[in-house]
């Protein structure tokens, strides 16, 4: 059974349809790369999964529960429960600048799940070690490089123990030489069977790490396939054109 099931999703800003009847599914342990030109609706689609965007029609179900069913949203407590299964990593990190790295990691599980400090300290230490930043626990975000910030943001999302991790262009705001360290952390997560959806312009990452690639353009999914199929033998004309341009 799919972990995420999206059916006929619609969203418009005024007269502009940003999502036109989008349908797709994500299985457990999938690593899905969403590619496509800017303004194709990839980020909007990702953001509607965690209810950062309200959609105008269609359905989203997460692990069997409807976040929105044929345009009708679940009740707020229900929404909270469903979206809690997902963590999100943003293009611009969105770390809390007034909190140290350790506090950034621990604040949400402490406030939302009321977990004990002892438990949280252990977990934050482990996760910081996992992203290679165990020695920066007491630093403020302002003192970190972009790559370090994004690794902290990934650790922060993992602190809530999500079943699915969403990445919205996680390396687009980074200097080229810093993307590698972030992609490596994501690769490690993929190897640990984390279910991930990654909106990205990193074709190398999509080829190497994803097991499914989704190509979007102008609010539609034009092609879905295994990386080698989609990259080496694209069927759709617009996919071909896009891949020519980015390569």
């Amino acid at each position: 059974m799919s972990l995420i099931e999206v059916a006929k999703l619609k969203k418009a800003y005024g007269d502009i349809d940003v999502l036109k009847q989008i349908s797709f599914g994500v299985n457990k342990n999938d690593v899905v790369a969403m590619i496509g030109p800017s303004g194709s609706g990839k980020s909007t689609l990702l953001r509607s999964l965690v209810h950062l965007e309200n959609i105008d029609g269609g359905s989203i179900s997460i692990a069997g529960d409807y976040l929105v069913n044929e345009g009708i949203y679940a009740k707020p407590p229900e929404i909270k429960k469903i979206t809690a299964k997902m963590g999100m990593v943003f293009q611009h990190f969105n770390l809390f600048p007034h909190l140290t790295v350790k506090e950034n990691l621990e604040i949400a599980p402490k406030m939302v799940k009321k977990e004990l400090s002892m438990v949280l300290e252990k977990r934050s230490r482990e996760l910081l070690a996992k992203v290679g930043l165990e020695n920066r626990a007491s630093a403020y975000p302002a003192k970190l490089s972009g790559g370090q910030k994004q690794r902290v943001a990934i650790a922060r999302a993992l602190m809530m123990e999500p079943e699915i991790l969403l990445f919205d262009e996680p390396t687009s705001a980074l200097d080229p030489e810093l993307t590698g360290e972030v992609l490596q952390v994501m690769k490690d997560l993929a190897e640990e069977q984390m279910t991930m959806i990654v909106v990205t312009h990193e074709m190398g990452f999509a080829k190497e790490v994803a097991n499914k690639v989704v190509f979007m353009d102008k609010g539609e999914i034009l092609e879905t396939g295994k990386p080698n199929e989609l990259f080496d033998h694209p069927k759709n004309e617009r996919t071909k054109l896009f891949l020519q341009r980015v390569n």
Binding site: T83, N94, F96, H98, I107, A108, V112, Y140, A142, R156
Partner: protein, 219 residues
Amino acid sequence: MSIDYMNTILRPMLEGAQVTILLFFIVIVFSIPLGFLLTLAVRSSIKPLAWIAQAYIFVVRGTPLLLQLLVICFGLPMLPGIGEFLVLPRFMAACIGFVLNYAAYFAEIFRGGLLAIDKGQYEAAQVLGMNKWQSFSRIILPQMFRVALPAVSNESITLVKDTSLLYAVAVPELLHFAQTAVNRDFSIVPYFFAGLIYLIITFILTIVLKKLEKRMKFE
């Protein structure tokens, strides 16, 4: 100029300075929270509340503090019928005037602070499962205060000097005693000392605020 003379003019002026400082603290303690509540009211989704708060800020910022003090101290007691119940001890009336006035300025400062916070901060808090109150109190508020601090500092320096408006409603404070001495001795020296005392107060305040700003730099 003898030590004795300095003593006779400085002693009452320092007593007056106590009133100045007392007013300063009362206004800071009450107008900052009140200003913050006004900010919330302006941003409230309850429209009438937002309108009232906006109108309040418009009127208070658009008229002189001196006029407001005169109205509260001398005008309100003249109102037919209820006036006699509005006669307050002069210092208390002045405090109320200052608090009501400064709250409007602080409200605008805090509003600016909130506007400066990136919407990604709200989104990150939401995605991490925090509710509105948790994200506001733990994520947004501390950042708002940090952004607002330089403007709050500036406003509190202005407040130190504005306390001299007490002179106009006949509450004896620093400037009042300086003026008394000037009139009595026909000398410019008391003015000079008054200026010096204001400078010392603002100097200490500046140092304290700089320390606070440094601590809230989060680096």
